[in-house]
Amino acid sequence: MENSTLISIEALKKHFLTAGGRFTALNGIDLTIGKGEFTGVVGPSGSGKTTLLNIIGSLDSPSEGKAIVLGQSISDLNPKQAAMLRRSRLGFIFQSYNLLPVYTVFENVEFPLLLLQIDEDQRRKMVMDSLEWLGLTDKIKSKPAQLSGGECQRVAIARAMVKRPEIVLADEPTANLDAENSHHILRTMVRLNKELKTTFIFATHDDKVIGYLRRKISLVDGKVAKDEITNN
């Protein structure tokens, strides 16, 4: 683990209003995450994993406390600044892949670069590099509906990685995959983490994922119950 801190969270609380009253999803989280970490937020359903990832990803904002991500306070960002942060410095991988259905594999991976207005030649090169890392060069013209679950998730990883983000947030990335595909995906992410020094943060309760983590932050009822470095 390297020292430079990318994420700093202090006394973070998140409340939601529900039909039954106020529900506290995060209840005073304190943690820091440094560059190059391969970290997982683990815990049972409803423990606040996804909420924490959403706040780190500037898709949601804290109710109380501070979340500083890449030097920017999430509470202080306006929607446009939050969009810029996600566009240029964060990558997302979702449980159900969230690929754009009418686009080809190439176009899905190209999408983040289009938003960054990278010129066509460089864009093409970056997309091809990314697809090469994930072993998808023979699928560039396929549409998501023509791919298997494992292939879809690899496209999603390629899309998350193509702009070389500093942090990749992966919410239950293996939940829809079989064991073989899960290991394949995880090995790929470990390789990318090592080669590109990208910080990976997972929200998961899948033991297969947990087996690859180098740091495991366990959440229970919105609080950090355990924060441990593993031997991976």
Binding site: T50, N54, G57, L59, D60, P79, K80, A83, M84, R86, R87, S88, F92, F94, S96, N98, L100, P101, V102, Y103, E107, F111, P112, L114, L115, L116, Q117, R159
Partner: protein
């Protein structure tokens, strides 16, 4: 913006059948609106030309007492052609018409008519007055095709005509149908009998007098004349212009219905899209698009329906509209029943203005209809959208 257009086009084409259904409905609206407006414009142009050629010329001087809607004043509504206009009339730049009431007795029936006297050498109106020539003994008369059909008269027939002179004395003679003319202007046809001006002047005892003077159709202004009032071409065409305006308003109802159908389809598609594509919306936001950009993307997607519809409409609409403009639409004298200047066949007239106005109207309406449901996106929580949860 270029990126949004590119993405929107891709999404729209990718939506397949849903898009094409909207596009087809919208393209039909394009064509029907242009076609219907073209018919009205074509009718307007045709009717104005016919009325100018057959009746109004470039404007008319009316004897001060003349009121076309008051037949009882006709006995007084004539006087000498003013000196200031006499030479103009003699040079053929003006046609004098004398009008009086009369009656004909075709096949023993009584038919009230207007007897109109006009010079046989006039060239201002299309009326074939030269056919009066060469018949000095009998009273030659011209009648329109509809008048001939209504009274079962044909060329060469003789029919008794009765009138009153300026002293109120009845007189009668036999007139011979010297010709039957075809016109689209019912006001020179129905209930009208045209005779030579000098003969009518003699018949009613009003030598050198006229009721109206029809100016030739050139923009030359007009001279004032004592005892006569000038009616411009636009004054005389007002009835047809007003009628077309009323028809156009009626047409707007049709456009609104057509556009509403098309817009309903687009609105429905947009609302469905926003519900069905919540995950996609969440993904766009997660990948770094602002909510404003996503709203713009969906609005452009909706608006592009009108662009595709325009292209499709051009594909099948241009040949159809050209075909209609060449062959016209048969309405077989329906308008004559109502006294309208309506040809048997109307040729639609499409102007660039009409096409552009229609395109702009449809595009603006489509954009508004696409934008309204898209505003919901701005209120969506991206975290909920990503999960595809209905909001």
């Amino acid at each position: 913006m270029k990126l949004l257009f590119r993405l929107a086009a891709k999404n729209l084409i990718g939506a397949g059948r849903r898009t094409w259904l909207n596009v087809i409905v919208l393209s039909i609206s394009f064509i029907v609106i242009i076609w219907h407006k073209g018919i009205l414009d074509g009718w307007n142009i045709q009717a104005r030309i016919d009325m100018i050629n057959w009746e109004t010329g470039g404007g008319q001087y009316w004897q001060n007492s003349y009121d076309p809607y008051d037949p009882f004043s006709l006995t007084e509504a004539h006087s000498k052609i003013p000196v200031s206009l006499d030479s103009v009339a003699s040079d053929g730049h003006m046609a004098a018409i004398l009008i009086t009431q009369g009656t004909i007795y075709p096949e023993g029936r009584i038919q009230s008519i207007l007897i109109k006297g006009i010079n046989s050498n006039q060239k201002i109106l299309k009326l074939p007055a030269s056919r009066f020539d060469g018949n000095n003994e009998e009273l030659p008369a011209l009648i329109g095709r509809q008048m001939a059909n209504d009274n079962r008269l044909k060329e060469g027939d003789r029919v008794t005509i009765r009138w009153r002179d300026i002293h109120g004395t009845f007189d009668a003679t036999d007139m011979k149908i010297a010709g039957i003319f075809d016109t689209n202007v019912p006001t020179v046809d129905l209930g009208q009998v045209w005779v030579p001006l000098d003969r009518l002047q003699k018949m009613i005892g009003a030598p050198g007098e006229a009721t109206i003077l029809v100016k030739e159709n050139i923009d030359s202004g007009y001279a004032a004349a004592d005892g006569w009032k000038f009616k411009t071409k636009e004054d005389l065409l007002k009835s047809i212009t007003d009628l077309i305006k009323i028809k156009s308003v009626g047409g707007i109802v049709l456009y609104i219905i057509l556009l509403s159908l098309a817009m309903l389809a687009i609105f429905d598609t947009q609302v469905l899209s926003i519900f069905r594509r919540q995950k996609e919306i969440g993904t766009y936001i997660a990948l770094g698009m602002t909510r404003g950009q996503v709203v713009a993307l969906f609005t452009i997607e909706g608006s592009l329906n009108s662009v595709l519809a325009g292209l499709l409409a051009a594909l099948y609409g241009i040949p159809f509209l050209i075909f209609q403009a060449k062959t016209g639409i048969s309405i077989s004298g329906a308008g004559k029943e109502y006294g309208l200047a309506l040809a048997d066949r109307i040729f639609p007239a499409y102007s660039l203005g009409l096409v552009l106005t229609t395109i702009i109207l449809i595009m603006i309406t489509t954009t508004i209809v696409s934008y309204l449901p898209s505003r919901r996106i701005a209120k969506m929580k991206p975290t909920e959208a990503l999960r595809g949860k209905l909001q």
